[in-house]
Symmetry: C2
Subunit: 316 residues, 2 copies
DNA sequence: TGGCTCCCTAACCGTTTCCTTAGCAGGGTC
DNA sequence: GACCCTGCTAAGGAAACGGTTAGGGAGCCA
């Protein structure tokens, strides 16, 4: 019984899927499967059995999952405790939806890091259904994105989602566009849009956009340029494309039901299980400075801190 | 960071010695040392440093020991939870001082096991200073022996410690023997006596028996026959040698300060951390049946359940 | 100083872990 | 029935874990 095995088990139990757990861990799916097999053999219990709904816990697995989760958590605690005792820089691992990770999180964390000297941050992209699991298993400290259940989520910022297209789009000067009219357009979407639990994903579902009309891009920036070049329509944040719209590179289409009001949330473990840095970040996020940064977001890609997303699972 | 490493670390921290931890785990001392080295390197902290008092915790180690101990405990919980979920026999690991392990624990556990069908027991010998650690790290469920601190100890039985010798010993018919008179005798002692924290060990200290006069035997039975053959004197339980005395194979020497009243205790984790079987055993131990067994103990070696002691550390 | 104890390191070795790719198996869905 | 998705197994290889024996070095004590 190793910690790796327990971690794999907990992730599969929480996500209900070996494949997703493997994606979260960044390993191949047989790796997770065999970790599971080893644990099963060691404990002499099936732990998780396949059903049509995904992987479900056996009675034994049900008892184990709580214990295993505690152990994984304690391992994270141990690391943090030693780190702290040695005055090593704190670690703040942020996961966010791709848009936030691209445009908002970097300047936000830059500003926050400027305040407390010894701090090391990382930003990764995750799908919404992975976020609570990542927090609960201490693979991440903070999640920025939609509201999550099972963890503490507090509202962070309010935004408007609009549908945009290039300046030569046939519907560019329409007054009122019924969603069906866009059924034949190509929809250009970023990883956030590919996540059906995200705001953009839910909008696409509501507009009944068929899957075959979607083209998934690796970043919101790519979506924006593709739209400007007339390759299709895109749903994105009004503020992100404000400059493009003002300068005529993009137009906002008056689709019925848009703009959509959306709320970004910041999610963490409950207060008692938070590390001090996380508490500091939460306080920082409610300051005028942080608000200012979030509202200044103008779609220019910040140079510094952004790393390529590593844990993206595409809807495909 | 593996569970083995954490376990080694916790044991060394608790016992203050790599050597003792190795003895408890039943492995060589470099094995423990290198587990520690691996953990040190992984965490980048010395964890434990050598002082003249033994191994002491670094600030980082101090924080880690609690966390690591919880993890080791949870691992034990996990095993037990699965066991229980699958209806596997419960496991009851008893550690005891050598005399108890030889004469008292086997019939006691035989009787207890007779009551609840699915139960698997083991008896091992441990030194008193190891007992609380074994309980706290869940390497054992119950300890029988002297009163322990740091865990729940309740009195189990009262006994008398006497000094005996063979029927031809020069002092066999003395009326009153000062301890000094025995300074030149050979003292025949069993592993319990070699443990300075045990009742016999404390008696030897009080009688100022010099170390070079002690001959350590591997069992109480061996001590008894050696004494009967006139190889020296021995401190042992009155009830154990009653038959030998009645039949003239041994005589009780009227040493000043003896017989010594001693109390055996049964020690466990506090009630909230006990497994159900342990609770059952505690209740059983207070029944007349159990009392009867403990008082019937007559020095005959029970055939069934006794296993050779595995975790004995000799005082040497 | 010499000897002793205790911990650490070195060198070595077998087993397990952990990951990969490739392919099989079983349950849905069309 | 033919697919497709998902999980499992197989095979193989690099790394680690976990153990051993042998020996070096620091501290304590006679």
């Amino acid at each position: 019984m190793t910690l790796t095995q327990l971690e794999a088990f907990v992730l599969v139990a929480r996500l209900g899927s070996v494949k997703e757990a493997a994606a979260v861990l960044g390993v191949s799916e047989p790796a997770v499967s065999s970790a599971l097999a080893a644990l099963r053999q060691h404990l002499g219990d099936p732990l998780l059995v396949r059903t049509s709904q995904g992987m479900e816990l056996s009675p034994g697995g049900q008892r184990l999952v709580g214990i295993a989760s505690q152990m994984v958590n304690l391992a994270a605690d141990a690391d943090a405790a030693i780190r702290r005792a040695n005055g090593a820089p704190d670690l703040l691992r942020v996961v966010a939806t791709s848009t936030i990770a691209e445009f908002v999180a970097p300047p936000l964390l830059d500003a926050f890091t400027g305040r407390s000297a010894a701090l090391q941050t990382s930003i990764n992209v995750a799908a919404s259904n992975q976020m609570p699991v990542l927090l609960q298993d201490r693979l991440a400290d903070v999640a920025l994105g939609p509201r999550l259940s099972g963890v503490d989520s507090v509202p962070l910022a309010r935004h408007k989602l609009v549908v945009v297209a290039g300046p030569h789009h046939p519907l560019r000067s329409a007054v009122r566009i019924a969603p069906e009219s866009l059924a034949r357009s190509h929809w250009l979407i970023d990883p956030v849009g590919a996540d059906p639990h995200s705001d953009v994903g839910r909008l696409l579902v509501r507009l009944r956009v068929p899957e075959r009309r979607m083209r998934v891009f690796s970043s919101t920036a790519a979506v924006r340029s593709a739209a400007a070049e007339g390759h299709g329509v895109a749903a994105t944040l009004g503020r992100l494309v404000a400059a493009d719209v003002a300068e005529g590179r993009l137009v906002v289409l008056p689709v019925v039901g848009t703009p959509v009001d959306i709320l970004w949330y910041v999610s963490t473990l409950e207060a008692s299980r938070r590390t001090p840095v996380v508490g500091q970040l939460l306080r920082f996020l409610s300051t005028p400075d942080a608000m200012h940064i979030m509202h200044r977001t103008d779609g220019s890609i910040p140079a510094s801190r952004f790393r390529p997303p590593v844990h993206v699972t595409l809807w495909s």
